[in-house]
Amino acid sequence: MTIITPIIDEQLYPILEQVSDPEIPVLSILEMGVVRLAQLIDGVVKVTITPTYSGCPAMDVIGDDIKSILKENGYESTIKLVLSPAWTTDWITEKGRKALLDYGIAPPLGAEADKDVLLGNKKLVGCPQCGSTNTKMVSQFGSTACKAFFQCEDCLEPFDYFKCLK
């Protein structure tokens, strides 16, 4: 069965919320949609996480961080990495999108719009600094696997755009 909505025990929420992606520290792994399951079963917390990109080097760190923060809170845990269903940027929460924008990363657009901007057909990505959509793509690949590199043609600031993954 495909689990789209993550299953997370209520008492674990405030703990897991403190873990963030080391490359995007403003975004908790819950807002990112990386945690698919976290349940206390027979005294052990079973956590299932899924990578954003296959080669994301942050996954090992995220797994270790989850283990150690749960331990600080008195829980033993097991971490399982699953690939299916594959992560999509649709799983980033509204709060997460706002956090990205405030941090200076333009949040992902929908699939069609994303294709348009990455092919350079349309200007739709808003500059996180000045809000202008008069922006251009510099490179489809940016500082990490999940981002493309953009520049604002009004305020001239370079910035990252979180690519749509569907």
Binding site: S54, G55, V82, L83, S84, F141, A145, F149
Partner: protein, 251 residues
């Protein structure tokens, strides 16, 4: 080993991505511009990520406490099953891009089919990877068009790379004995069925790029059975050095 055919099949698929990933990784800090340098290493990272999923699965099948690192680093040249195309060196940026393009078009067609594999793990890896590989294909296709239909020099370099790498394309559609067994069980992709779609796509892009499609019907083969070009040995020497010198070392 139980399931030896499945093990061989997974390695055949994964070795393509690993060797190409290693080639692209060589460009780290050496790309022709900062953006292309970062792009090539991003693609490399995606490929290595996919390879880890394949090798972890292969290690599970192999048993005997084999690890993903053993499979990646401790095989001999003849035990690698990648196609000859991906081991060809980064002669210049045109070569790098044409090699990438010729592989990406295949890779995308391949993963589209592997999503329907009877093997759940392989299907899951395909569903994950296909999202990444569609970015790779877009990147290399754009560059082939841009450089092909570019200046006189860039056009000539792309044409030369296409002429020289073309001989390695047919091997993508060959099957090993293990492949045939796995196709029959519904686990493997029957690559012979991808050939027409592949050349149709490649030729259409080359046409836009004002590049002539080579007419030669003579093709190189051997990689899938472990018989490689001289380039692979050098690549492996570089890649395996650390594990061979300090066995069992971890990052």
């Amino acid at each position: 080993m139980k399931n030896e055919n499945l093990y061989n099949y997974i390695l055949g698929v994964a070795d393509n991505s690993m060797i190409l990933g290693q080639r692209l990784g060589e460009l780290c800090g050496h790309g022709p511009s900062l953006e292309t340098d970062i792009a090539c290493t991003n693609v490399s990272l995606d490929l290595f990520g996919q390879v880890r999923s394949y090798f972890q699965y292969a290690a599970e099948i192999a048993g005997e406490e084999k690890t993903e690192d053993d499979i990646a680093f401790l095989r001999r040249e003849r035990e690698y099953r990648n196609v000859l195309l991906v081991e060809q060196p980064n002669t210049d940026f045109a070569y790098t891009i044409v090699r990438q393009f010729l592989f990406d078009v295949y890779h995308l067609l391949f993963l589209e089919q592997m999503q329907n594999s009877e093997d759940e793990t392989l299907a899951a890896i395909a569903k994950k990877s296909i999202k990444e590989v569609s970015y790779h294909e877009r990147f290399s296709t754009d560059w082939v068009k841009r450089l092909g239909d570019g200046t006189e020099e860039s056009q000539q370099r792309i044409q030369k790379a296409v002429n020289n790498l073309w001989t390695y394309t047919d091997e993508l559609f060959h099957q090993t004995e293990s492949d045939k067994v796995m196709v029959a069980t519904g686990v493997a992709v029957d690559v012979t069925t991808l050939k027409d779609a592949y050349y149709a796509k490649v030729n259409s892009v080359l046409e836009i790029a004002t590049i002539e499609v080579p007419e030669s019907k003579w093709f190189q083969k051997g990689g899938k059975n472990g018989v490689h070009t001289e380039h692979l040995g050098f690549l492996l020497a570089d890649m395996q050095y650390m594990q061979r010198t300090y066995p069992g070392m971890e990052w």
